[in-house]
Amino acid sequence: MARQTADIGIARGSSPPPVASIYRSRWFDFNLSRPGNQHKLGYILLLPALLLIAAIIAYPLILSIDLSLQDVKIARIGSGDQPWTLVNYQRLFASAEFWHSCWVTIRLVLLVTTSCFIIGMGTALLLNQVFKGRKLARLLIAIPWAIPEVVAVIGFWWIFDSSFGVVNWTLVTLGIVERPIAWFSSGAGAFFVVTVVMVWKGYPFVSIMLLAGLQSIPEEFYEAARVDGATAWQRFLNITLPCLSPVLGPTLVLVMLWVFRDFSVIYVLTQGGPINATETLGIMTYEQAFSFFKMGYAAAIGVVTLVICAVAARFMVRRVAQPLY
């Protein structure tokens, strides 16, 4: 069974050659003055991607909506589908855990996004200065982007270790706290560490995007403002921020969506604990599906998450995708 599917996958990937041989006879007189041929070719080239997307994205999406409408535990396809019911959604909106998860998610999204923007803006402004070794600095400042999330989590585990972590050592040595903090046993501590890891992983993206935006601002704007006697702060408020606004919007949405959807950082670090203090909607979805095997219920949480993402994405699509066509 496994082999069969694999073969289908490969066959899809390499479908163009036979197509080419069928069409070759006609293509001898192919030229650009015959748009009819061109259209066909356009569709044929799209076909493999469409089939793959239909099989691995569109169909699973439909299936998960279907699951969310069934009262099922461990789902199977086709074998006596349950009648559709809204019971999962009713349970969901009535459960305190769901609203708690929403609240955790909102706090995390706001906290991480704000911090990422402050640090990202700071580093972008810094990297926009002209100095020797700027390329190296850019390389180093963006490096957390490249570290796999699980690796980052493992690094911070050790840094925040309750007995021998370097953070506790620093705090105790400086006399800020009397005894080491058990970061992962308190809700606030675990939430703080999750935030730190996500900010460390997330700010390079903001930094890179904003730097690209900053470099597109003409230097003349600043010179003119300087001639008029504007202070650095006025220049930032009246030139930099407005000129960055086309980049700021999409970056904001992308960072928020990333935090909103993230799974690995929180799951590996805390599994949503202690006592659900770091349980976001993503973690709750996963736990319900694969720890408690309530797949219908979990799919309902996933669909709600998707709807929230889609609303956020709409904002971005409207602002961004339009000029592309």
């Binding site: 192919f30 469409l50 998960s64 050790w158 959807r261 799974f263 998450t305 995708a321 000029p323 066509y325």
Partner: protein, 276 residues
């Protein structure tokens, strides 16, 4: 623009301090991997071990199936990138060159599917893969990672194809190339750096995944990817932090090397689909 020496000194100081802070976690993982176990369990912490214990890297690959995990990660990444790029190169070329009906909607769908929560997709994919017997097999990971790579690579490649002038293919077709021949012989070579960058991005995405691998590769340790493997290390009864750090470093190194190559494409890649 001229700066006073004081201003310059401040600037360099800031840059150095910022770089030191953001690099600290990586530096700390590296130092801790080289410190002897006894010194990791005492204060003050080791900022640089007097005798770096390089043998730990050897131990971390011989005492656990880490090499196997890294191989699995590489195979999954190679398979997912090959599958995704073979379809998305054609689709991106079509979206870039042909006015196909529904192309706009497809573009939007691709953009939106970049935002799908993995925790939502993982449930139906698990149901499907279990039914067709793919659970526990690397093929499930190849297909699941393609859901991450196809949308983003189609978008990114379309951007690269848009920058290649159509005259190039027209010239090739006048010289007797078929349209597919022109794509293969003229457009693809011209877009090669962009395709390479896209492929490497795909590797980064695949290598970083934890949700799919954690769910589909449950049965045997030998089938795990590196991320799944190293995430279990802390749960072990005896926490040898130096070995854990060494394993984590070994998992990160391939991606850091790719990053050094990709850095100059970073803006184009990260912003693809976001800003133009």
């Amino acid at each position: 623009m001229h700066r006073s020496p004081l201003h310059s000194a401040m600037l360099y100081l800031t840059v150095i301090v910022v770089c030191a802070i953001v690099m600290f976690p990586i530096y700390w993982m590296f130092t801790s991997s080289l410190a002897p176990t006894s010194q990791l369990k005492q204060f003050p912490p080791v900022f640089w071990p007097a005798e770096p214990n390089w043998i730990v890297y050897w131990e971390s690959i011989t005492e656990r199936p880490l090499l196997r995990w890294l191989t699995n990660s590489s195979l999954a990444a190679a398979g997912a990138v090959a599958l995704s790029l073979s379809v998305s190169v054609l689709a991106a070329y079509s979206l870039s060159r042909f006015r196909v009906r529904g192309g706009h909607e497809l573009g939007l769908f691709i953009l939106v599917s970049k935002m799908l929560p993995a925790t939502l997709l993982v449930i139906p994919l698990f149901v499907i893969f279990r039914q067709i017997g793919l659970i526990g097999s690397l093929w499930s990971i190849v297909l699941a990672h393609a859901t991450l790579i196809v949308p983003f690579s189609t978008w990114m490649l379309k951007g690269y194809f848009d920058t290649i002038p159509t005259e190039l293919e027209q010239a090739a077709m006048i010289d007797g190339c078929t349209p597919l021949g022109a794509l293969w012989r003229v457009v693809l070579p011209a877009a090669a750096p962009g395709i390479a960058a896209t492929a490497l991005y795909g590797v980064v995405l695949s290598w970083g995944d934890y949700a799919f691998a954690r769910t589909f590769l449950t049965s045997a340790q030998n089938s795990w990817t590196a991320n799944v493997g190293i995430a279990t290390l802390k749960g072990e009864h005896f926490t040898a932090w130096n070995e854990i750090m060494a394993a984590a470093m070994l998992t990160a190194i391939p991606i850091i090397i790719i990053y050094l190559f990709l850095e100059r494409y970073l803006v184009g890649g990260l912003t693809s689909g976001a800003v133009k």
